[in-house]
């Protein structure tokens, strides 16, 4: 409209850039801090411009770790986070898509009961049943294991509902055509339904990967060994209560490294990310 011309347009641009600056500032500070000398920071003398210690700080962070609190290289923590995030994303998609397939395309005893059993899990995040879950995982000897990290977080219905929703929109005639073409249930699933679900799976994968990578409370509880720590848990252990001992450049480098994979996924796969986010929340 006409009003969107002229001065209003500049106001809009200005407000958006202010918003971007506010959103980006803490991260900018983290990047700057991760290239500076710890002594300088500890004195409250940190510069707002990047320093010259980039390679040395990141080398120590990834391959060595802090010298004080935990001695775990952050590279290893990232590997743990990666394994956990992938296990959650892939595991959840795999078990959800087959159960959604069963619920939508078959009639079997207790079908609706099973649907509701799965549906209800939607309501309660792991945080509210944290200690009993911890106990189960401990009883199953899964503390300090990838299975223990991932399995309890797979137990939720979002993906099942999403796939169910999608399957309901697939025209019935496609299944009928497949039947006439001689395809049985498994073949229809593999040849037709799975390829059609590709975009949905990808969008879901993006969201689940980010959520998995960012898990905190659960890994904090069930990992006791330093070499099983995820990066989110590791970063907290680096901040010691006695301020003087905190190695801030390494903490900030770890923060940057912790942000890198999920932020990259959001920016690089923006379309899938937006789609996944909107669909999982519906």
């Amino acid at each position: 409209m006409v009003e969107d011309e002229g001065i209003r347009r500049y106001v809009a641009h200005f407000i958006l850039w202010v918003g971007i600056a506010i959103v980006a500032f803490p991260v900018y500070i983290a990047i700057v801090a991760s290239t500076q000398d710890n002594a300088l920071i500890a004195n409250g003398q940190m510069s707002l411009l990047p320093g010259g210690h980039f390679f040395e700080v990141y080398y120590q962070t990834i391959f060595v770790g802090t010298s004080g609190s935990t001695r775990e290289p952050v590279g290893n923590m990232m590997l743990n986070s990666l394994v956990m995030a992938l296990a959650i994303a892939i595991g959840k998609i795999a078990i959800s898509i087959i159960s959604a397939y069963a619920i939508v395309y078959f009639r079997f005893p207790f079908r609706m009961a099973i649907f509701w059993i799965i549906f209800i899990t939607l309501m309660l995040p792991v945080e509210v049943r944290i200690y009993p879950t911890y106990k189960i995982v401990a009883d199953l000897h899964m503390l300090d294991s990838y299975a223990g990290l991932a399995l309890p977080l797979i137990a939720s219905a979002t993906a099942t509902l999403l796939f169910r929703q999608f399957f309901m929109t697939v025209p019935d005639e496609l299944l009928e055509a497949s039947r006439i073409d001689g395809a049985g249930p498994l073949r229809f699933f593999w040849d037709t339904l799975l390829p059609l679900s590709r975009t949905n799976m990808a969008a879901l994968f993006v969201i689940l990967f980010i959520l998995g990578w960012n898990q905190y409370l659960w890994p904090l509880l069930i990992t006791t060994r330093d070499d099983m720590q995820t990066i989110q848990v590791g970063i907290r252990k680096m901040i010691t209560t006695t301020d003087a001992l905190t190695e801030w450049p390494i903490v900030m480098a770890t923060a940057v490294l912790a942000m890198l994979p999920p932020v990259f996924v959001v920016v690089a796969m923006q379309k899938l990310f937006v789609r996944g986010l909107v669909e999982t929340e519906k």
């Binding site: 209003r8 803490p26 069963a102 009993p132 137990a155 932020v263 959001v266």
Partner: protein, 293 residues
């Protein structure tokens, strides 16, 4: 809603739902049930035996002023985070919804903080506003503020609200933008022809039409503030100073971990479950009906 075209097998679908059913039963229902049972039990000091104590754990909780404070604090945090984050995100979304050059770039630059994990958010903000070495603390002190969130409970609470709201901006922005884009442009044009100036148009057309989105986001933000702030609190203040930033989830965690009072922790879990179910219920009920046009 049911499909008409289906396959006949009975065995195959059972095999297909089995993995999810097993995981859900073992890692969801069993622990949830345990939490409920445990909330009625009192364990002795050594954890060797437990007695059934009816609602004692709950009664203890509600008699405990610290718990009551945590409830009030949690709701206060939730509303403060939701309102501040929602209003800022709405402002940005309304701006980004205009036909501006580079609007895709703006979107990209505003949505990425969604991907930053809560503990990292905590680390970023405590570093900036750390009493002795934070880069922003210098300016605050320059302004004459006696800034020390590690000692001052109110300042600590403000810091947590700020950090949590910051993280939530991108999420809210994205949904507001989608909501705005779903409103047909002709409605704005009609309002403009009807003589409504931009500000008036926002309050009389945009805002009401956006109310389903606003309500939805309000609920999501409150649930977020309930649970996802844990990581922020744990890295920034660990509930302190004193108990001035202890929320309900943080209390479940710390009571169970430090105090080893599993009965009380379980009772708290059950109360949280009920709260979340109520919130989700509200969301389903109202988002579906009242606020849709």
């Amino acid at each position: 809603m049911q499909k008409q075209a289906i396959f006949q097998s009975k065995l195959l679908p059972c095999a297909l739902v089995a993995p999810q059913l097993a995981i859900v039963l073992i890692f969801f229902y069993w622990p949830a049930l345990q939490a409920v049972i445990q909330s009625f039990l009192l364990q002795d000091a050594f954890g060797l035996s437990s007695t059934f104590v009816w609602l004692d754990n709950y009664i203890e909780l509600f008699k405990d002023p610290a718990y009551f404070e945590a409830i009030v604090r949690t709701f206060f945090f939730s509303f403060a985070i939701a309102v501040s984050s929602l209003s800022f995100a709405l402002l940005l979304a309304v701006m980004a919804d205009k036909p501006l050059r580079g609007s895709m770039l703006y979107r990209t630059l505003l949505i990425w903080p969604y991907a930053v994990a809560p503990p990292v958010v905590g680390v970023l903000w405590i570093f900036m506003l750390h009493p002795s070495l934070g880069v922003l603390s210098r300016y605050l002190r320059g302004l004459g503020v006696d800034w020390n969130p590690l000692l001052d409970g109110n300042q600590a609470a403000a810091l947590i609200i700020l950090a949590a709201a910051w993280k939530q901006i991108s999420y809210n922005f994205l949904f507001f933008l989608a909501g705005l884009q779903a409103i047909p442009k002709s409605v704005f044009e009609a309002a403009a022809i009807d003589g409504a100036r931009p500000m008036r148009r926002f309050w009389t057309v945009t805002f009401p039409l956006l109310s389903p989105t606003i309500f939805f986001l309000l609920v999501v933000n409150i649930v977020y503030a309930f649970f996802d702030t844990f990581g922020i609190i744990d890295t920034m203040t660990r509930g302190g100073p004193g108990t001035s930033t202890v929320t309900l989830v943080y209390k479940v965690y710390s009571d169970g971990l430090l105090g080893g009072n599993l009965g009380s922790s379980a009772a708290q879990s059950v109360i949280l479950m009920v709260m979340v179910i109520v919130l989700t219920g509200i969301q389903f009920r109202f988002v579906e009906r009242k606020v849709t046009y």
